[in-house]
Amino acid sequence: MARTLFDKLWQTHRVCDSEGGADLLAIDRLLLHERTGGVALKSLAENGYTVRDPSRVIAIMDHIVSFKRGRGRDDARSPGGETFITETREMAKAAGIHLIDTDSRDQGIVHVTAPEKGFVLPGFSIVCPDSHTCSLGALGALAWGIGSSEAEHVMATGVLRATKPPQMRVHVDGTLPEGCSAKDIALYMISKYGADGGQRCAIEFSGPAVEALSVEGRLTLCNMAVEFAAFSAVIAPDDKVLDYVRPRVSDAVSLDQALAHWRTLKTDADAKFDHEITLDAAEISPQISWGTSPEESCAVNDLVPDHASAKALSYMGLQAAQAISGLPVDGAFIGSCTNGRLSDLQTAARILKGRRIASGVRAVCVPGSQAVRREAEALGIDKIFIAAGFEWGEPGCAMCFYAGGETFPPQSRVVSSTNRNFEGRQGPGVRTHITNPAVVAASAVAGRICAPSDLPARSKELVG
C-alpha cells in the first residue's frame, strides 16, 4: 500500500499499540531548554525517575539568557530569570544529559543549534517542550512540540504515547517572485486558510517552490507550521539536505547505511492525504501581519481588511481599510528560530549596507546561534548592522517574546522577523508586525513599513 513520508516515519518509530488507538513511539532525540525543560527535569527527579538514555537528551540555554554582548554566565534578560538558567544547569548535570550552557561555543536557539550540530538528522523522531520543534521536519524528521510532562515521560521511558494525526499535503507550485521568501509562503498560507487551517494535521510541504528553498528556508517554512495549527511539518529530504547533514553525522561507520535509508524517505506516488492544499508561489508577494494572530496578515502593499476584528484593530492602533505600508515604526527586531539564521542576516545586510536606520527607531539583531554569529562576523555582517544603527546581540530567543525586563515601550510599533504577533508578545502593549527580514530591514531604514523595493536607490559603491 502506498505510504506517505509521515506514514514511514511513524512506522519506523512505532514500538507497539497502546490504549485507545494510541501508539508508543520511540524518540530518537529530546531537546530541552531552560524555560520548559528545567521543570521537566525537576519533576522527573521529584517523581523518582531517572533518564533512561542520557545520550539522547540535549539541554540548551536560549529562552531567558541575556542578549547583551559580554553577558555573564548566569545573566538573564528578565528580572529573576537567572533561576531558570542556574536550576536547569544543575539538574542537567545531575541527570547526566548533554548540556550546552550559556557560555558554550555551540549555544544558540534550540531549533537553530539542533540542525547545525547534527542533533537532528533525516528520519529521526525528535521532540522538545517547545511549539516550534516542527521546524526540524525541514530535514525530513518526525519533529513535534510537546508539553513538559511529555518531556519527562520521554526521559523516563524513551518513548511517547501518541495518536496518529490526520495528514495534509501543502503543495506549493511555481516559482516565488524576487524578494519573497519562505516566511512569505507561510504567512500567505496562514492568512488564506486561517490560524486553525492546519487542523492538527501532520503536514508535508512539497512542490517546486518548496524544493527550490535552501535548507534554512525550509526550516523557516516548517517553523511556522505550528502557527497554522499543524501537529508537525515535514519536507522530503533531497540532495540539498543530504549534503547539509553528511558532515554532521557523528557515526561515520554507518553513513552509507544511513544515506540508503534517507533516500527512501519520500511519499509514494499514490499515497493519499486526508487534506490537500495547493498554493501558487507566483501569487505571493512580501507579507506582513497587521493584527494579533498570524492569520491577520496580508501583502505589505495591501490595506487592513474591511472586516478586521475590532479587538485586533484597537490593540494595533489601526483602522479597517487603512494602508499598512507607510505606518511609522518605532522598533525593529531580526532574529529568532524563524529568521535568525545566516541567510536571514545576509538578506537584511544587503539592504542595510550603506544605509542608516531612521532616527527614533530602535533596531536590534540577535543571531540565532553562536555559529551564526561567528559566520556573520567573519563576513563583516555585524559591521554592516552596527554601521546602520542596529544593536548586535548575543544569541538566544531575545526579543521574540517578552518575559519581563527591558523591551520596546507600550504602543510602540515594531517590525519583527519572528513568528508571533500575539497581544503583548514583545511586551505590554507592543504592536508587533511579523514579516520577513528584508521588510524588517527596509522598514527600519525608512522609519515606516515598506517593501525593500520602496527604498531610494544607493550609489553603486555602497551596494558593493
Partner: protein, 207 residues
C-alpha cells in the same frame, strides 16, 4: 495520583474569541519559577488585571464579574490554546479551578497538556457553542465523561455528545500516572531498541 474526573457540574464563563493563545492564558512574565505551582494568579493576567503588576482587577473581564464567582468551565471559540507549548497554561487554569473547556477546536499541544493535568477539553460545533454562549445568565453545565455528554441546566432537553480518545478518557477518569502505565510495556520497549540499533545504528551514536 491525580484528581479524577468522571462527571462535573459547574458554572461556565464565555470567552468567545478565536485563537486565544497560551501567551494570553499565562503571559511569559508570569512564569517566575521553575515550578508547576503558583501560576493561578497569573491566569489571563494581561486581560484580567487593569494593572498586572499591582494586581488591580479589570472589572470588565469576564472572570472578574460577580456572577462568575466559582467558574469551573470555559466556553471558547476556535483554536483555543494555540501558540506556545508552555504547560504552564494548563497548570494556571487548573490552579484557578477550571476543570472543563468547551471550544470549537484546540491548539494540539495545549489539548494534550490539559488531559495530562485533569482538565477536560471538549470540542463542540460553532453552532452548539453559540447556543451555550447565548444563555443570558452564566450557564451551569454538566459534563458526563463516562457517557461523553454535555447538558445545560438552562437549556432543557439540550444534550450533546462529544468525542474523546480512549486513552485521554482513561487518564482523566482514573487519574493515572502515564509514565507508570507506559513502563508496563517495558519489555516491548527494550526489544524495539535492540532491533532498531541494528537497523539504524547512526541513531545510537551519541550527539
Amino acid at each position: 495520583m491525580r484528581e479524577k474526573l468522571l462527571t462535573h457540574t459547574g458554572r461556565s464563563a464565555v470567552l468567545l474569541l478565536d485563537n486565544v493563545d497560551t501567551d494570553q492564558i499565562i503571559p511569559s512574565r508570569e512564569m517566575k519559577r521553575v515550578d508547576r505551582k503558583g501560576l493561578g494568579e497569573g491566569l489571563f493576567a494581561g486581560w484580567r488585571y487593569a494593572d498586572a503588576g499591582a494586581r488591580v482587577e479589570d472589572p470588565e473581564f469576564v472572570l472578574n464579574r460577580q456572577e462568575q464567582t466559582g467558574t469551573t468551565i470555559l466556553i471558547a471559540g476556535k483554536n483555543f490554546g494555540c501558540g506556545s507549548s508552555r504547560e504552564h497554561a494548563a497548570w494556571a487554569l487548573n490552579e484557578y479551578g477550571i476543570r472543563v473547556i468547551v471550544a470549537e477546536s484546540f491548539g494540539e499541544i495545549f489539548h494534550g497538556n490539559c488531559i495530562r493535568n485533569g482538565i477536560l477539553p471538549i470540542t463542540l460545533s460553532a453552532e452548539d457553542i453559540a447556543t451555550l454562549a447565548s444563555v443570558t445568565a452564566p450557564a451551569d453545565l454538566t459534563v458526563d465523561l463516562v457517557a461523553q455528554t454535555v447538558t445545560c441546566a438552562d437549556l432543557p432537553g439540550w444534550q450533546r455528545n462529544f468525542e474523546i480518545s480512549g486513552f485521554a478518557k482513561k487518564l482523566l477518569m482514573e487519574g493515572l500516572d502515564p509514565i507508570a502505565l507506559t513502563l508496563t510495556a517495558n519489555d516491548e520497549i527494550e526489544s524495539f531498541f535492540k532491533k532498531d540499533a541494528v537497523q539504524r545504528p547512526w541513531v545510537y551514536s551519541a550527539a
